[in-house]
Symmetry: C2
Subunit: 139 residues, 2 copies
């Protein structure tokens, strides 16, 4: 097995591990996966309109409408309009939504801490450099 093949398999394992960790974290909350992802996007990038949110989530605006409806009902997010363009809905997190985002973010931090615990100081720096390069140039 070449290093490229090996890396391919390990990346897939890593991705699947991350995905199932994430979904078990979400399942232990009041939120569905799509709701949690929307909160994550809003918490990370701040208030935005439906189209941008849909793009960040990689789904259609129709799907996003439904998700935001549920977030509004559950009081995690709210819509507000602007004067510049009355078609636009700005979606922002409520207090409750911000708290949920922060809690979710703490889970991510704790996963990174776990990684630090099994890596050397130097490796953490290497990983950060490598992932940054890949994120900038590929994704």
């Amino acid at each position: 097995m070449t290093p490229i093949e090996e890396l391919t398999d390990e990346l897939l394992l890593f991705f699947n591990g991350f995905a199932s960790w994430e979904s078990s974290v979400i399942r232990s909350s009041d939120l569905s996966v799509s709701e949690a992802h929307a909160i994550e996007a809003l918490g990370q990038h701040g208030t935005m309109n439906m189209k941008s949110l849909a793009a960040k989530l990689g789904v259609t605006t129709g799907t996003t409408t439904v998700t935001v409806d549920r977030l509004e009902t559950k009081n995690y997010a709210r819509r507000s309009s602007t004067n510049e363009d009355r078609r636009v809905n700005l979606i922002s997190l409520t207090e409750k939504g911000i708290k949920a985002f922060e809690e979710h973010h703490r889970f991510h931090l704790s996963l990174t801490e776990q990684m630090r615990a099994c890596l050397q100081e130097e490796e953490i720096q290497q990983l950060l450099n490598i992932i940054k390069k890949v994120n900038r140039e590929i994704f």
Copy 2:
């Protein structure tokens, strides 16, 4: 921002990038995401029973039944029984399923190649070591 916080954010970006790359690859095929994941698991780990497949996919066996039903209908996988335990269904890929797996795997290889292209030889080795450690110890 501490390195741990920065790494947390970059890992999330990486994960989301990988997820949306994966889902666009799948969408360009005849398969749904859940079907593709099942094929991936079967191709990677070989023939297995429903319970193991469900565990690999991180879903219930009920969900897996539905997924395998569709894979059977579309002729990507087949069920067969064993003499040892007649409750058990062994799920394996058909020729068509193996081809689909190999094609999907080639996509993964090409993504890894892209990563190699933007990293140095040394960094590839570092990444491999680091990801292996994390996979073994955390996921």
